[in-house]
Amino acid sequence: MGLVTRKNLFAIMGLCAMVGLLLLPIVMALPSPAIGEEAPAADAEKKEGDKVEKGRDVYYKTEGIVMGAPAPKTVDGPRDYPRYNFESRVLLWFANQQHLYYGSFVLAVPIFCMIIEFMGVVTKDKALAKRYDQLAYDFIKISLTAYSLTAVLGGILIFTFLTLYPAFFGYLSGIFRPVMHIYALMFVAESGTLYIYYYGWDKMKEGFLKWIHLSMSVVLNIIGTLLMFLANSWIGFMMSPAGVDEQGRFLGNIWHVIHTALWNPLNLHRILGNMAFGGGVVAAYAAYKFLASKTDEDRAHYDWMGYIAMALGVAFLIPLPFAGYWLMREVYAYRQQMGITLMGGLLAWLFIIQATMIGILFLSTNYYLWQAMGRMRGAEKYQRYIKYLVFLLACGYMVFITPHTMVMTPAELKAMGGQQHPVLGNYGVMSAKNGGINVIITTTVLSFVWYMRGNKVSTVSWAKFGNIFMGVFFACAYINIIGLAVYGYYIPANVRVGLSVPQVATTLSCLFFMFALNGVMMKGAKQMGPIEWGKISARSQYALIMLATAFTWMMGLMGYIRSSVRLFWHVNEIMRDNSPWAYTHTVGFAANMISFNVLFFWVSILFVFWLGSLAAKKAPVEAKAGVPGAVPQPAASH
């Protein structure tokens, strides 16, 4: 008893140390304005006759005392743009993209761990709780090597910046000077917390200590999220600068610099994107292990792991297009021209590729769910309806990827009498595309509902009404989504743009209400048979790998689009890019570069997985009990 109390005491001290680490950067930052910024300003005001120069914030339009140097006017040469015999921008692109892939992976995995560990703690079923705990441990184990690699890639990225773009990096780090060390300290806090969380797993697996351990995962994720928010503020500043005057001089309010017009939309979009990406990568890992498994037991475990990772990833993938839509609306609100460049000009065809990839993501998800119904008895009743879902998905997909304009020669433009194609000009508009993607997402929700009730028969007295209500609700939702898409053609643009909100609300209504209704109907339902984990086609696992690869490619594509929309600016309208590489690449070159980045990431992460498997082989394996294939067993103990 005394030992447990002492253990508890140590655990609480550990948690306090973590919270202290979390608060450390904030405490360290507090004296900074007093010593570094406000004191000179106050001194300057005291001195009679000294002139205090004021500037006007380019975004917030407030006045502030100039506290920094103007943005450097760079010239093409070895001083501002030193180089190897290679395009500097491509080297930076590679370093940045790899760091971002790994960074988003190691930020997403601890969030998964937190969710899964919490599910394990609150689950009444002891065996299931143990499996959840093992799964969370497996997840964090995968991310640990990736975490070191993220730090290494971050170092490579900084050296690339310093070596190839010294003037730009000097300016940006000068603007963000008050928070640059906070970022570094947060990184220390993140590392410390992660190692205590990982190595303390076995010591803290019972009772109160388990809750302390779970709290550590919350602290870990708060630090990770804040880290990402800070990194997002740099790209937000580059796209939509604030807190500086028109010459790029810092005006003393670091919050204005961080909180730019696009910061919050980027934050939301990146959190959801990281989660979907992390889910995809872990699902692909599980699929690879499933395909390589020699025993039914291992197949059962990795099938279950792949399903959980996929379900979590898709849970964040579903709201992702809506967050993207909000980001684009904010881009249009900030600079209409920037929005037009993205979606109706120079980069529009990249958005068609993006739509294609989004469609592939949802098609792969649905295909996996239909295949997954094969592992439960009783789900055969849905098989004959799947062709109708395929039809809905295909229709939504075709509408979603239809372009609005074509790439044309001047002669073709002249013959046509303008940019607008007489037939195609009527299609590919946002009203129709919103309808297309919402039909796809609603169909995915329907597939999920079918999967969740695959091997069950509802026993509630109103089951017949419930089933009919669900069918009618989905039918009305489809009619409303498609009706709004068609209605958009008949009303002016300023009214049409608002229709996206009820369309999204319709899809989300299906998601929340139908999941809730299904949950109530399936409470105490009659089971047709257990879910036979591991009894699933190999094709389904390739769908998971496809899902992860498509997501990786899309992340690379969208990063390129977001970055290249600044055109010839390092910092939009503040600091011009005068390097020889200020032009925008062709779509073909960009696509090849993205493919190279994706290939490099997957080869390197397979190496990380292989390293992880070496460690697993050394771990002692407990005697495994249970019927092979009936229920998933932990693959290895820890």
Binding site: K464, F465, V472, F473, G498
Partner: protein
């Protein structure tokens, strides 16, 4: 509850609820943006 399990009654009740709900969603979510859903 048994009356609700009658397919005809169930479809009619479901239609009234679903159509009413989506009409409200369309109207109020446009109204919140200062737009008129019934413009046309």
């Amino acid at each position: 509850m048994s009356a609700l399990n009658n397919p005809v009654v169930a479809v009619i009740v479901s239609l009234i609820v679903a159509v009413g709900y989506f009409a409200m969603v369309d109207h109020y979510l446009m109204d919140m943006q200062g737009l008129d859903f019934w413009y046309l």
